[in-house]
């Protein structure tokens, strides 16, 4: 039943999005412009700064993620569909997970474009170990999206929601971003230190578990009037 | 609340200044043991008194500023409460 609701919410979001692809295109374009700005600012005489690629990749993900979260829930607010979702006889955590998986899919799709772009502009060997990279990106995205979906959902009815989302989101997700950057940085080193990589990955998984648990626990009381 | 925001601005600017200073220093080495102070090279021998005085005076000032801020907010709410109560009493007796 839980999985069925998750699937229904996901399918609803996907169907709406596929019709216009508005959020997908705008988020992607924003992330690309973000990376280009970093490239123009930091690349001197064709050479990128040492070890800058990891940080820039994760900053672009964080910014694009914030934008995508804001836009997704703005759409819910305009059509008042969030209230409809909450009124439905569905377990609230299932609705949350449905929205979460949708955001994760959107962010991963953006990352598919961002990673080659960063690899190209900053001469970073991001594709040397694709499996590790995929793991890092997945765990980091889950952690960021878990907190982001909760906060974006709860801010839907608040004033100044556009500026408050990053204000609330970034201090909480900084540990995830730091771990993601360090892990990616360890992956980009000439000699990959697998031990360090595993430590950061373990931390990422830890954050994911903590954030997901807290979010699932508090989604119901937070969304109730 | 204004006082708190002013304090926040001061702190952020101090932090920004500190970050600028930090950016110009060589990276520190991990300390495994403490080194006696007179064995340090001369440029690292900072006078401690200004830092100590700054720390303690900041603590005193910040605490004082907060107490003043809360007291001001409390008196203004108190005044509004009294005004409302007299208005209600007048309204109900009229």
């Amino acid at each position: 039943m839980f999985a069925h609701i998750v699937w229904l919410v996901l399918r609803k979001d996907f169907t709406i999005e596929v019709r216009s692809l508005e959020i997908a295109y705008t988020t992607l374009f924003f992330a690309i412009s973000c990376i280009l700005v970093f490239a123009f600012a930091l690349v001197q005489e064709g050479r990128a700064p040492e070890g800058g690629a990891a940080g820039i990749l994760w900053i672009a993900i964080a910014f694009a993620g914030t934008l995508a979260l804001g836009r997704t829930f703005e759409r819910e607010r305009q059509a008042e569909t969030l209230r409809a979702l909450l009124l439905a006889p569905a377990a609230r955590p299932a609705v949350y997970v449905g929205k979460l998986v949708g955001i994760i899919v959107l962010l991963m799709a953006a990352e598919v474009v961002l990673v080659p772009l960063v690899a190209l502009l900053f001469q970073a060997p991001l594709f040397a170990h694709p499996v590790w990279l995929a793991l890092i990106l997945l765990t980091g995205t889950i952690g960021f999206a878990a907190v982001g979906t909760l906060f974006a959902a709860m801010l839907v009815r608040a004033r100044s929601r556009d500026v408050l989302l990053p204000v609330l989101l970034y201090p909480i997700t900084v540990p995830v971003i730091i771990a993601g950057v360090r892990a990616t940085g360890a992956l980009l080193a000439p000699e990959v230190d697998v031990a360090i990589l595993q430590v950061w990955l373990a931390l990422l998984v830890c954050f994911d578990v903590v954030f997901l648990t807290l979010a699932l626990w508090t989604f119901e009381p937070l969304m109730t009037d | 609340m204004k006082l708190l925001s002013a304090l926040l601005v001061v702190f952020v600017s101090c932090a920004a200044g500190g970050a600028l200073v930090l950016a110009q220093q060589p990276p520190p080495q991990q300390q495994d043991e403490f080194v006696p102070i007179d064995q340090l090279p001369p440029q690292d021998q900072l006078p401690a008194a200004p830092l100590l005085v700054a720390a303690y005076s900041f603590v005193v000032l910040a605490l004082f500023a907060y107490v003043v801020s809360v007291a001001r907010r409390l008196t203004s709410v108190q005044r509004e409460l009294e005004r409302l109560e007299t208005d209600l009493k007048r309204g109900s007796s009229a």
């Binding site: 937070l222 | 930090l22 403490f34 830092l51 409390l74 409460l81 109560e85």
Partner: protein
């Protein structure tokens, strides 16, 4: 205000007056000299910073799951104190570090986590001020995540390489250092309780004003 407030305030003021004497009479630490005396305000501030975050988090949980408005008032007051004592910790720390470590700041785990915890408290206050109606619950949710940060800040220094002293320093303090420290800590704790009480009173009065306005409209 409750009966204990004024006597406690007097005691606290007296302790604040006598603390500098105790601190001045404490011996110098062998390696850090005079600047180590910042310890006697830095450590209690840090403890009150973490205590405030815990109180805010627990009150937020109670508010979220039971809806008691008193818990919400407590959470808001505690969050303001977290910002206050966080500022004290994050300013006295670098002032001490400049002399003891040679740098103002280090991006190690404890300092970064503390700074992030402080920013969460600031975000809480911004949300309460600008979030509009319904922001009490949202802020409570935020405070929960912030509280999860607290144990991380405390134990981080024992497990990651850092210049910051470990948690072993306090239990192993000689008495000559310990007396001023615990006296200072008690003073700060009393001050914390007093400030919390007065700040909660502010919220109580605001709530009374709101109910009066509502009764006028009815």
């Amino acid at each position: 205000m409750p009966n204990w407030f004024i006597p406690l305030a007097v005691v606290c003021a007296l302790m604040f007056a006598t603390a500098p004497i105790l601190i001045a009479n404490a011996p110098y630490e062998s390696t850090m000299g005079l600047v180590q005396k910042i310890f006697y305000v830095h450590l209690p501030s840090a403890w009150m910073f973490l205590l405030g975050a815990i109180i805010c988090g627990m009150a937020s949980v109670r508010f979220l799951f039971r809806g008691d408005p008193r818990q919400d008032r407590l959470a808001w007051a505690a969050a303001e104190l977290v910002v206050l004592f966080g500022v004290l910790t994050l300013v006295t720390g670098p002032l001490w570090a400049r002399k003891a470590w040679g740098v103002w700041w280090q991006w190690d785990v404890r300092l970064t986590a503390s700074l992030m915890g402080w920013m969460v408290a600031v975000a809480y206050l911004l949300l309460r001020k600008y979030g509009g109606p319904g922001s009490e619950k949202l802020a409570a949710g935020l405070a929960l995540f912030g509280m999860a940060n607290v144990p991380f800040v405390y134990i981080s220094v024992n497990y990651w390489r850092t210049i910051h002293p470990t948690t072993n320093v306090v239990p192993s303090l000689p008495t000559s250092f310990g007396v001023p420290l615990w006296f200072s800590a008690l003073t700060f704790l009393l001050l914390f309780v007093l400030l919390l009480r007065i700040r909660v009173r502010l919220e109580e009065q605001r709530a009374r004003v709101d109910t009066l306005y509502l009764s006028m409209d009815a």
